[in-house]
């Protein structure tokens, strides 16, 4: 193995990408690196002389001991308390052949020492099962070729069961495959395949049937959606096709077939009976789900939309059929009306509405689907010095993973060698690719752009940032905004209330309505039941919440719950922590001042050379500042730190002093020329340091924690949104005020001890304001918890910050603006939906009940009611989907 001189990655010498320079051979990971090298070979060859130590590899699998016992690590599912751990330890410990058992409740792992000749991994797993817990396992479906008889099946099954870590195996001769349950921490797919092949059979990969993994379930859900949509469309088409002739014959006056459809004629009777049969078929096929669901709901003493539709159309059908078969039951012939058209058309329309809703809903959950889709399927890891592609699930901690240009980074980790730029937009919302080199953190799910690199996995499986983001988003989407609780109360009374209204309308029309009263009464009853739409009401909040939270996640804003979102739009004040939130949290060189004829570069070069030897945090700022300004530094000849004052050093033969006023006084240097400037810099919140060369005052270098680029704009934006912006800091008042002035904040709490931050948040709350706190999540945790909404500024892969209601993955203030913005937009959307749904029902139900008839002679046809109902919930979903196109401020 050797190093790629361009990107620094380890490459095999057998690679096809090779070049020669000055008689030496160089090897590359890719064509891109080779062409870079060929362009300027001298530059890279020079750098190549520096050798990196090879990365150490560590394996985490089952380990065997000399005495034949084995250690097994089993992930446990379903532990909730420390007593659970004890229960498992006791149960497993009782098994013959089991040595030590230790269960770690924090990591949900059981460590078992056992003798494989006396007890199997399966038995251990079963005993854990009998204690009421489950062992985390994977299911592998392996294709097996070359099986001819039943004895082959037993042979393979026995062979598989002997592999430690394999829990169950069932080989199916007919489908030529085996379903194997195994513990991924103990055994990988490869050894399982090896065993089968050693027995003399061929193996091939099939799609793994993974149960209980969200990603897979999502796909199945998508499939179910498609199937449901198709089935609904078939039902709709059937109902629609039947509707055409039924409507034609139901309005003989309009279509001029009055003589043909004269009541009492045989043609009328035949057509009527045919219509009865056809609409019954529509009810049985297209409308079946209304009835099954209505019955099920009725059993559990509840009513829903299906109850309403089912009762409405059954009433219409029964009435019509009685009128056709037993017209004599009715006292007058005018009463023996038919409403088969209502049955067919209402079912057709409601089903169409449901189909459209399925379509629209698929789009609403697109954000989470996108996130799930970001997860890589495989990873290329280095094991035993060889590169192998393994499924994502088998990556363990400390695995070294190789990523080539254009590939997806599979898990979270730290770059060990190589360099590249990585597109992290999908996780952080940051549009520009980020440069990565050794020691930098990479996030699983992001895409490697230009170079190749290796990295060490630091978070795998459910612990990766992406998995946690998905989990948080799903949690938030399932939480309830407080407003939804009120709506739910209304909704639970809604359907029975509608039935009661329908019956009341029926009675009123029957008692006081015009003749034929029974017909009118029936029309209003059916129309009332059909127009009411509890669905629109019920779906109004959750669907917008789902889209809104998803929208946030796409932009690096993780909203923990519906109530966080609802509170975020009611905020009056926002408290910002200074260090790390408004400012970068890292000092940087800001000013260089000269006197006595010295040049800026000269002073900076000397100061930086001196500070190179120092470990002071401000020293780093000066050295970096010199580098940024392309000023050369040299090594010091002697170095002496004077505590509390500064440093004294010799650089290129010059005596250099760098420090505060006390240092100048100690060496009796007259600093009067710069005293005023020092005061001015300090006023601006900067830390100035005097520089003296050969006992003569030379100038000043000043460093300060600089404000993030977007802070000023973001603060202005927040103020424009009507929020009072307050700054909170542990720094002294002068520095705090200086920063506040730069970004335009007027209210400042300075000299605040970390433990008093929460208290200060409370102080603002006492003014009757809803307060948000923005901080780093670690030092500011109590303040974040105290605030009505706590926004934590995350760093890289650390996304699940407990104390926060909202986590911003991209660590700057424009994220705060976007978070509040997305909350407001979502709540506005929810209000629109709720208003629409309530307004629709409040207006629609009385009209359907015939309230307008006495005044304007308007009576709603049940078919119009059906159309209105079908499209009201589609409208709600469509309105929620509008949020997806919402453009966030400052993004």
């Amino acid at each position: 193995m050797t190093k790629d001189p361009v990107c620094g990655m380890s490459v095999d010498e057998s690679t096809e990408f090779q070049s020669e320079f000055e008689g030496k051979k160089f090897f590359f990971c890719s064509a891109a690196c080779k062409s870079k090298f060929d362009a300027e070979p001298g530059k890279y060859a020079e750098a190549h002389k520096e050798q990196f130590p090879a990365a150490q590899l560590k394996k985490a699998t089952a380990t065997s001991h000399a005495d034949g016992t084995q250690n097994l690590k089993l992930p446990i599912i379903g532990m909730h308390c420390s007593t659970c751990a004890v229960t498992i330890e006791k149960t497993v410990g009782k098994l013959a052949g089991v040595g030590q058992v230790h269960v770690n409740i924090a990591t949900n792992d059981a460590f078992v020492e056992y003798d494989p000749s006396r007890v199997s991994a399966k038995e251990i797993s079963e005993s854990i099962g009998s204690a009421g817990y489950r062992v985390g396992r994977e299911t592998l479906k392996l294709g097996i070729g070359g099986m001819y008889c039943a004895s082959c099946v037993t042979k393979i099954e026995d062979g598989l069961k002997r592999i430690p870590g394999v829990l169950t195996s069932s080989v199916d001769l007919a489908s030529e495959s085996a379903i194997i349950e195994y513990v991924p921490a103990v055994v990988q797919i490869k050894p399982i395949k090896d065993v089968v092949e050693k027995l003399g059979y061929k193996t091939f990969d099939t799609i793994p049937p993974r149960d209980g993994i969200e990603g897979e379930e999502m796909d199945e859900t998508q499939k179910a959606h498609q199937q449901e949509y198709k089935s609904l469309m078939r039902k709709f088409i059937f109902a629609a096709v039947v509707s055409v002739p039924v409507v034609f014959f139901s309005y003989p006056t309009i279509f001029g077939i009055m003589s043909f459809m004269k009541v009492g004629t045989s043609s009328f009777e035949i057509v009527s009976i045919a219509m009865a049969a056809a609409t019954l078929a529509v009810m049985a096929y297209s409308g079946a789900q209304f009835f099954t669901s209505a019955v099920a709901a009725f059993r559990s003493r509840s009513a829903n939309m299906n109850t309403l539709v089912a009762s409405g159309v059954s009433a219409a059908w029964l009435y019509s059929t009685v009128a056709v078969l037993f017209p004599s039951v009715f006292p007058s012939k005018t009463l023996a009306g038919e409403f088969y058209d209502v049955v067919a058309v209402v079912i057709a329309l409601v089903i169409l509405g449901m189909a459209l809703e399925v379509r629209a809903k698929g789009k609403s959950s697109e954000a989470i689907k996108k996130l799930i889709g970001l997860q890589a399927k495989t990873a290329r890891v280095v094991r035993d010095g060889k590169e192998t592609d393994i499924p994502m699930e088998e990556v363990v901690l400390d695995d070294i993973i190789i990523v080539r240009p254009g590939e997806k980074i599979p898990v979270d980790g730290i770059v060990t060698d190589g360099a590249s730029s990585v597109d992290e937009a999908m996780i952080t919302g940051e549009p520009l690719p980020v440069e990565k080199g050794a020691g930098d953190e990479v996030i699983g799910g992001t895409i490697n752009k230009t170079g190749s690199f290796r990295f060490k996995a630091t978070k795998v499986g459910k612990d990766t940032a992406l998995a946690q983001i998905i989990n948080m988003v799903q949690q938030a989407q399932s939480s309830k905004a407080p407003i939804a609780r009120t709506v739910d109360k209304v909704a639970s009374y809604f359907a029975p209330a509608v039935i009661i209204t329908g019956i009341l309308a029926f009675i009123v029309w029957f008692d006081f309505g015009p003749q034929p009263a029974l017909v009118y009464a029936l029309i209003v009853f059916v129309a009332t039941l059909v127009i009411a739409c509890p669905c629109a009401l019920g779906i109004a909040t959750p669907i917008s919440l789902m889209v809104g939270v998803g929208k946030g996640a796409e932009n690096g804003i993780l909203i923990r719950s519906g109530s966080a979102l609802e509170t975020a739009q009611k905020l009056n004040a926002i408290v910002l922590d200074k260090t790390g939130t408004i400012t970068k949290g890292k000092p940087a060189l800001t000013d260089v001042v000269t006197v006595n004829g010295f040049k800026e570069d000269e002073i900076l070069s000397l100061a930086a050379s001196v500070e190179k030897a120092s470990e002071h945090p401000l020293a780093e700022a000066i050295v970096n500042g010199a580098q940024d300004r392309k000023v050369k530094t040299t090594d010091t000849e002697s170095f002496n730190a004077i505590p509390g004052k500064g440093v004294e050093a010799k650089v290129t033969g010059k005596h250099v002093l760098l420090g505060n006023l006390k240092l100048m006084k100690q060496f009796s240097i007259d600093s009067a020329a710069l005293d005023q400037k020092v005061g001015q810099l300090a006023e601006d919140g900067k830390t100035p340091m005097y520089v003296a060369v050969d006992k003569k005052l030379a100038g000043l270098v000043a460093v300060a924690d600089t404000v993030k680029e977007d802070s000023k704009v973001a603060v202005a934006q927040l103020q424009k949104m009507g929020l009072e912006v307050v700054m909170l800091t542990g720094d002294n008042e002068r520095t705090a005020k200086a920063v506040a002035r730069q970004v335009g904040i007027t209210r400042v709490f300075a000299d605040v001890l970390p433990e008093d931050k929460a208290h200060n948040v409370q102080k603002i709350q006492m003014e009757g304001k809803k307060v948000a706190m923005v901080g780093d999540g670690i030092n500011d945790a109590p303040a974040l918890a105290q605030a009505d909404v706590g926004l934590a500024i995350g760093t890289g892969t650390d996304v699940a910050i407990e104390a926060s209601d909202i986590t911003l993955i991209k660590g700057n203030l424009s994220g705060v603006v976007a978070a509040i913005d997305v909350s407001r937009a979502t709540m506005k959307n929810i209000h629109q939906n709720l208003f629409g749904a309530f307004f629709y029902n409040i207006l629609g139900i009385p009209i359907a009940a015939g309230l307008l008839f006495p005044f304007f002679g308007i009576l709603l046809s049940p078919m119009i009611a059906g159309a209105a109902m079908a499209f009201s919930s589609v409208t709600v979903v469509t309105n929620a989907n509008r949020l997806r196109a919402y453009k966030l401020k400052l993004q």
Binding site: T87, G132, T221, Q227, S300, Q477, V487, P534
Partner: protein, 125 residues
């Protein structure tokens, strides 16, 4: 008022009373779940137009494992939400999907479908 009108009025009002009683005031059937020796309380819930059983009585402070089996494809019941626990599950049709919650305090914890049309509750005692 004719006799027919009186009959319809009385029958209608009677029906209204019955509906109000049945849906709002009648006691729902409760299903009490026993605790297994392992300390886990496990319930199997059929999802088809509703949850059956829909009122589940459990012991507070102990984990409850709920196995949902959705026996329909209607999108309505696709998701089941436990807002009090901020948990949700996507129910794949004709498959058992398991969800675990631990009601720490005695009380009523509602669960529902994504649209809030189907309801059920866990009563912890």
């Amino acid at each position: 008022m004719s006799i027919a009108q009186i009959i319809v009025t009385l029958a209608g009002l009677g029906l209204i009373g019955l509906i109000a009683w049945y849906f709002w005031f009648s006691e729902k059937k409760e299903t009490v779940i026993g605790t297994a020796a392992s300390g886990i309380q496990e319930a199997f819930i059929k999802v088809k137009g509703g949850y059956s059983p829909d009122v589940i009585v459990v012991e507070a402070g102990k984990p409850v494992r709920l196995n949902f089996n959705r026996e329909e494809t209607a999108v309505c019941s696709e998701q089941v939400l436990f807002p009090d626990f901020e948990k949700q599950a996507t129910l794949t049709p004709f498959k058992t999907v398991t969800l675990e919650i631990t009601p720490e305090k005695p009380g009523e914890y509602n669960f529902q479908c994504g649209m809030g049309m189907l309801h059920g509750k866990i009563i912890a005692r």
